[in-house]
Assembly symmetry: C2
Homo-oligomer: 441 residues x 2
Amino acid sequence: MADSTDHLLTRDLDAPVEDDQVGPLAPLEGEPTSVDVEAIPVDSPEHATTTPSQAELDERLAKVRTAMAAKDLDALIVTDPANMYYLTGYNAWSFYMPQCLVVPASGEQHLFARAMDAAGAGYTAVLPTEQVHGYPEELVHRSDAHPYEWIGARARELGLVEDDERFRIGVESDSHFFTARDYLALASVLPKSPGIDSNELVNWVRVVKSPYEQRLMRIAGQIAQRAMERALESIVVGRRQCDVAAEILHAQASGTAQHGGDYPAIVPMLPTGDAAGTPHLTWSSAPFVEGEATTIELCGVHQRYHVPLARTIMLGEPPQRLADAAKVVEEAMAVTLEATHPGASCEAVHTAFNDVINRHGLTKDSRIGYSIGIAYPPDWGEHTISLRPGETRELEAGMTLHVILGMWMDGWGYELSEPVLVTPAGAERLTHVPQELTIRK
Amino acid sequence: MADSTDHLLTRDLDAPVEDDQVGPLAPLEGEPTSVDVEAIPVDSPEHATTTPSQAELDERLAKVRTAMAAKDLDALIVTDPANMYYLTGYNAWSFYMPQCLVVPASGEQHLFARAMDAAGAGYTAVLPTEQVHGYPEELVHRSDAHPYEWIGARARELGLVEDDERFRIGVESDSHFFTARDYLALASVLPKSPGIDSNELVNWVRVVKSPYEQRLMRIAGQIAQRAMERALESIVVGRRQCDVAAEILHAQASGTAQHGGDYPAIVPMLPTGDAAGTPHLTWSSAPFVEGEATTIELCGVHQRYHVPLARTIMLGEPPQRLADAAKVVEEAMAVTLEATHPGASCEAVHTAFNDVINRHGLTKDSRIGYSIGIAYPPDWGEHTISLRPGETRELEAGMTLHVILGMWMDGWGYELSEPVLVTPAGAERLTHVPQELTIRK
């Protein structure tokens, strides 16, 4: 235990420790513009669910504990379902109820969930039964009691946490599903221990993907490509948006003959016409009409690993401004991917992009990319790396990024993205769909 | 402003104010066991998106303000996307970023969202542009700043909230996506104002559905029936789970010829074989095998209104225990629905169920139903009414419930559910799928 008098949830502004950079600057190799996904070799053709080796799980935990030690944490309460999955394999649609993994600085990890979910945790989590604890059903949705009071008390009994001002408990204060009330209920049974913001500590460990994870990302890329191809085929004048969404959802779940698809953290988004100027509208049952462009943002998922992908399609003759934007963005993408290599800073990648679009009189306020990997609803971003001004972190081999060039104008929009793996040789595209504006006349 | 010295987020244990009961006890009418959904009349056949009238929106806001007054709230910060949609129509996949609706005790409502989402809010929300505020992109995913600091400061400038110990601010502390850090960032710029738990105040207003909402629930019921029929057809020996999920997702999005489907708050769940003993496992790419049962839990969605539905299918000869459980549960469902009428307490409905299964030597720990309506991922429950022991609240006409009899045993399970509308005449089923165990040999 560190000697600390921090108050509850003192904000720890230290940036995560950065590893040394690997790999030299290398030019991006020429890439095919369209590839048959079934022809891409991925080792192990069978459809069976694979799991990381125990050695890999041990290494993940060791890295998390190194990061915990750097923050003087005596325990970490992991609430992001992606982080729980990363550390234990636990995977169920149970995150809408309070649940967490408690990682002590040493000793075993323990999982806490609703009783009916704890009972089935062994189907996915590698934890032995005695490390899984179910809170009673009567604590669900009450105003006078809360599961996190039970969880905190049980974790104390098990010696995983202590109510002591020197005992520093890390919490993922900004993870989805760890609500204000969850936090306050936990704090109520550990009033003396300072809660320390983890600052996405586990997410940052996840940033560099192991070879095992890279393989899953490549498979997810194949599924994303399939889903995008289906989307581009399906959008025709007169068809309802919901029917195109149905085709995409079908392709996402089916995956490929070898590798099944998993559910997406974000549903397909198809803003069309005027609405294409706003990025996060979901589908309606309105039909596609002649003379309108649609931006498509979707993902492929395999075993929770997400590869997002965005394209734009025009029904009819594109307005000049759209055709022009498409050309500029395609040029900007080439330059951006060339700048994406180990040792490049996130802001340098952004600058490379920005120089191109500024030269053509365009501007963009929002970031142009972020880290991807394991994800659960409602977001497929990893909440770590952002490609934007002021981000001095350098890229490393093994990182996976969604480079998304979304231009949202007043009344129209254009999107082109590439999900990539950073390799010593530069950015490797995870999907191979032609980059130009698709035009259907 | 009430004179109060409560600390931040003092828990308010008052139960919501209960309205008088309406409608006499009436026996449940006999119901058809299978119905062609396209044959069910719902007014207004066109596929166009409909919206609630301004009068209905005004009434919703008035009810929320009545409930706010009962808690002496000077303002309410609404963060549950379902509640934001209910009050303003705002509907986008933007809830993975901080966003909220501020409802002052009097005056206009104001929406706060990420700049790129605020720009497009007018596509769905009825609020005028000057009541929509976008926080700058650079606040996204930073450790040294937070959107809720900006939101709190802006809301103060606009006079929507005050930093004063007599100014009581209601917060939805247990809503998904209102994270611990969101709350603490907001509190940091309003250090003097007591934050009061809203105790799902808006959710409780939503419990009784208007005629407009009942119509949307009936349409969602048609879509749920379609999706379940597709699921029951699709599950055959040798087919992969992910391919069946694909069929269900397709049916959910397509909806009916008249009414498009919307995205589900929870993906289809298909636990099969041993795993059917645990309720929230999502699909894998393993094939269905002879001799195993699968429980199917899915929903139909129309304009965010959710109607969930559960059934069980057996591939091959059912084991005696499963066939027996199916009969008991079907009997229990009939008795439970008969007990579901205006004036019945939630616990009385549970008791009616429990008496039947206990007589047959079965027990069930978890609740047998909950309120349904508008929903967003990750949960289609409304977080209000639970059918379980100790819940003395009485049912009212216009409530919509998912009565779900899920028996999760060690190594096997059985599920049967009925989504219903409580009417003066009793429970009206929103779907019409045969209730018995489906057996495919």
